[in-house]
Each structure stands twice: as C-alpha cells, then as structure tokens.
C-alpha cells in the first residue's frame, strides 16, 4: 500500500477508529457488536459510518448473539465484522468455531486488555495470543493478524477482509489496548491505495452444485439465499453436499482441506517484518506495542555495537515458521518480549529449540519499555 503524496492529507487518527474506517473501506456493510472497553470506539465509529454507505449497524443483546449475527449476515452475502475484548472474545468462541467449520467469511477484532476474566479493562495486555489460536474447541485452522500501529491497523483490517473473503474463513484482528487507543498522525485513509478481494460465488448449473466442493484453491464458492442453489449449512462434520456425516474418509478429507486451504495459500496469509536480522547474534521477537519498544532497543543496542535484530509477526497464526527460522539462523539467543506470562515464547521454543530461547514478560498492566529490552540485551551480550 503506498501513500499518494498528491492527495496527502494528514490527520490524527485513533487505532480503533482506523479499524472501523478500514472495515468500511474494505466493503464491510454489516456490524453487530456489544460494546466493551477497550474496543468500544470501533462500535461507536461503525454506528456513525455504516449508515452513510447504506450499511447496517446492530447493537446486539450480548457477545454471543453478535457473533451469530455476523455469521448470518455473511451467509446472506454481506462483508461483516464484530469487535470485542477478552471477556467477549471468550463468549464468541463457540460461534467462531462454527464459522471455521461452515467456512463463513467474517472479521473478529479483539482489543486485548488485562485478564483473566474481566481483569483490567483500561490496561494493556497481550494475553490472548494462545486463545486466538486455540480458543474454540477441536482441531481447526485460524488466521490471526497482529498490527502494531494505527496505520497498520488500517492496512491489516483491510487484509483481514480480503483473507476472510478469499479463503472463506473467520479472520481475527488482534491488538493491545495501547495500539487501539493510540492516536497517530497518518495520511488520511482515503488517500491510500486499497486492493480489495471479493468472495467467489457459485456460477455453474444449479443441479450440479455442491456447497462444499472446493475449486483448485481449495476454497468452495458460496451462494446467496435466493440464487436458486440448494445448500445446507451445519457445524456437524459434513461432506461436499453440506449434510452431516461421520464417515471417517469424509471427516479426514474435510478437516484436512480446512487446514490445507491456509497452507496452500500461505503466500497471501503470511506476513512479517524482519529488521537487522541478517547478522543478528541476538534476535528479539515482539509484536504490537512491545515491538516498538524492541525496535527502539535494537537501534540503541546497534549503536553500542551489539548485533541485534527484530522479528515481528504481523500474521501471528498460522505462524510464519520459515521466516522466523531464517531470521534466527545466526542468533545464539532469542528473546521473546510479550505482555503476558509467556505465550508466543512456547511457539518460538518449538521452532528454534529451547536452549537459545528466553522470555521477557510483564503482565501487570504496564508496558515493556525500550530500557527493559535493552538491559536484557546487554545482560546477554
């Protein structure tokens, strides 16, 4: 995405507002939600923006119903989004799993606050990394994007819609309270070039249509109610015809395809930033607001002659494994800095080996600072 300087117009925009504006720009026309700190500004802004484009905003009775409403609206043909924070994200999990299983495109935003339970509503945390991956039951793939700035929330929210529509799946946009409430000077959204993708609609003979018959990209086309195609939707394990089955071959084929469609489309799913990693003796892995502290610490450490790099997953799940291993190829030490008791560090240990990986953790509602990371680097170097 590039900025067009000719239409350059700068304004101070909040992260949550950037999310809402990006959703509308991506074509979102249905939002259902139950406001919760620190994500409420998304709902508030959507309630103002959607009527301008003939969209629908519904303040639902609760979090569960909000998730159900966006799945229904998506099945009806709309691009949809809901937003919440940890407590609501917990409640939405059952329906997120339903969305994965029935392959319904939707975007779910989780602005992370201190937890567990209702925790600390106005304090930042990064404690939902593993919940975003494994919050709903059963084996399932999921796409989770973790932007780190106001501008990136805008870009990644649009990318979330594109991935949801192209791969027929729920996509989670996950960021911490600090990024959500951060106001930054950005080039106004409208000045950015946006590439939009739409879902595939069934186009062949109605008699031949099978709702879960995939194309070569492993994604089945969808139908709108009233288009004349016969379809059936269930959370039960289903064959290509959409009807329940417990046939082992079918069950194996269905779940393998759900995983396979993300793997097959890895090139468009994965996204990361590697900074100063080529010769890095020490690699910092960080995301969200913590990645800013890491970036600052890397610059300071480089000034002192320490070979440090930063790896920042922008797509958190599926984790960009090969990219991490490439960034860590020369690293004797890997420090995973995150505002939780140690979540992503488990994945990095799995990939890079426990001996060279250590966590830098904080979960008291305060930030990991550049000084915290720099002193850890200096302690190792």
């Amino acid at each position: 995405m590039s900025n067009q300087t000719s239409t350059n117009k700068r304004e101070n925009l909040q992260g949550n507002h950037a999310c809402a504006l990006a959703a509308v720009a991506a074509g979102c026309r249905f939002y259902a939600g139950y406001p919760i700190t620190p994500s409420s500004e998304i709902a508030e802004r959507m309630s103002l923006e959607l009527p301008k484009v003939d969209g629908v905003f519904v303040q639902m009775e609760d979090e569960i119903a909000s998730m159900g409403a966006i799945l229904g609206a998506s099945m009806g043909g709309a691009k949809v989004m809901t937003a919440t924070s940890g407590p609501g994200f917990s409640l939405k999990q059952e329906n997120i799993g339903y969305g994965v299983m029935t392959e319904v495109p939707c975007v779910v935003v989780n602005v992370m606050r201190g937890g567990p339970s209702t925790g600390m509503p106005t304090r930042p945390a990064q404690g939902d990394i593993m919940q975003a991956r494994w919050g709903t039951h059963g084996d399932h793939p999921i796409i989770v994007l973790t932007p780190a700035s106001v501008n990136e929330i805008y870009q990644q929210t649009i990318r979330a819609f594109n991935l949801a529509e192209r791969l027929s799946t729920p996509v989670v946009v996950l960021y911490d309270e600090t990024i959500g409430h951060l106001v930054e000077t950005v080039d106004v959204a409208g000045a950015q070039e946006i590439e939009l993708h739409e879902r595939k609609w069934a186009a062949g003979e109605a008699d031949d249509y099978l709702p879960y018959q995939p194309d070569d990209d492993m994604v089945p086309p969808m139908t709108r109610p009233g288009d004349g195609y016969r379809t059936h939707t269930t959370g039960l394990t289903h064959g290509e015809d959409g009807f329940p089955t417990q046939d082992p071959d079918t069950a194996n084929r269905v779940l393998s395809r759900l995983y396979g469609k993300l793997e097959h489309n890895k090139d468009i799913v994965e996204c990361f930033e590697a900074m100063d990693t080529e010769d890095a003796d020490i690699l910092i892995v960080a995301y969200g607001i913590t990645s800013h502290a890491a970036r600052s610490a890397v610059h300071d450490a480089r000034d002192k002659g320490i070979k440090v790099g930063l790896f920042r997953p922008i797509t958190m799940w599926p984790f960009p494994e090969q990219a991490l291993l490439a960034a860590a190829s020369k690293a004797r030490h890997i420090v995973v800095a995150e505002m939780n008791a140690g979540q992503l560090v488990l994945e990095i240990e799995r990939l890079a080996g426990r001996d060279r990986v250590q966590g830098l953790n904080r979960y008291d509602g305060e930030h990991i600072t550049p000084a915290d990371i720099l002193s850890t680097i200096e302690g190792i170097a």
Binding site: E11, T122, L182, V183, H292, A293
Partner: protein
C-alpha cells in the same frame, strides 16, 4: 529522532485532559509534525488518574509512548505516581498549586500555578485544561500561538468558544509573567 519532544498532561478524570491532548496534537500536526498520543485512565467517567502523553517529532518515533518527558502538566495529586521517574533531567513540571499540594521533586523545574483558581475566577472550573494549554505552550514555545488558537477554536463547542479563547490567552499571560 533528535527533535522529539515529549509532553504529559495529567490529572484526574473529568478535567478535560484527553481533549487538551487532542487539541495540542492538532496544533502540532497542522505545523507538519508527527504526533503519537497515548492515554491512560481508570474505568470511571469522573475521578481516578487520567493522563495523555504526546511524543512529537519530524519523523514517526520508534517508540510512541513517553519515556523521557520534557514538559509535564499535573492538575491533580492523584497523577503524581511515577511522575518524577519519567521526567527528562532539566525538564519542566507545571502543577496546579491548590490541587497538587505535594509536587514531584527531582532534577527538573517545578512551576506551581493557580490554574483551577484562575478558571473559577474566569467563570468555569472546566476551562482549567485550556488555561493549562496556554501556560504550557507559552512556557515551552512548543508550537505557534496561531496553530493552538485555531485548534482550540475548531475543537471546542461553539457555545464555549469565547470562554475557551479567553482561557487560552490567560494561560499565555500566566506563562509570560513567569518567564
């Protein structure tokens, strides 16, 4: 990097500090600067610590949160916690003389001014935040007076525009008297 300025506006919830931060951000942005404005507050609509931090520079900062504050406003004792620790040596702290009876101490200047008292004299305690903006901008020569006047004019309710402009002028006058 080198031209970065960090400002913290702090006090208690309901004093209008988040709005002040937005106004000040607008003034800087209108002058071509990049601003990162963060906030911290308690889950109550009135009372409780409330603060907003601005990191301002020509470039987008590596770290958008305050770590070495050049100018700090403290309008309530409740915001004192951690204040001294985050100050840059040689920086300036402006406190409300009445509501901050125990100002922070350290290697920085502290100016205790009758900000809320002046607001009450002008007719409304709720304009203390704009008086404070005038004091801050006047002392620090942070942005042009025109930019700040324009931001106050466009971001405060029309009904209270004259009062807010008067508050801003008063703040500048208070700063001038202390320079």
């Amino acid at each position: 990097m080198s031209d970065e300025i960090e400002i913290r506006l702090s006090g208690s919830g309901g004093q209008g500090l988040q709005l002040s931060a937005k106004i000040l951000s607008r003034a800087f942005t209108d002058e071509g600067k990049n601003v990162a404005q963060s906030q911290s507050y308690e889950p109550t609509s009135r009372g409780g610590m409330s603060r907003s931090d601005l990191v301002i520079g020509s470039d987008i900062p590596d770290y958008p949160l305050a770590s070495a504050v050049d100018y700090m406003l403290i309008l309530d004792q409740i915001a004192i916690k951690g204040a001294a620790e985050v100050m840059r040596p040689g920086g300036t702290v402006i406190t409300d003389v009445k509501l901050t009876p125990e100002p922070p101490r350290g290697d920085f200047k502290v100016l205790a001014l009758p900000i809320t008292e002046t607001a009450i004299k002008l007719g409304n305690v709720r304009i203390a935040n704009v008086i404070a903006l005038g004091v801050l901008a006047g002392l620090g020569e942070l942005c042009s007076r025109e930019s700040l006047e324009s931001a106050v004019g466009s971001m405060t309710p029309p009904k209270f525009r004259d009062l807010n402009m008067k508050a801003l002028r008063t703040g500048y006058d208070m700063a001038a008297a202390r320079l």
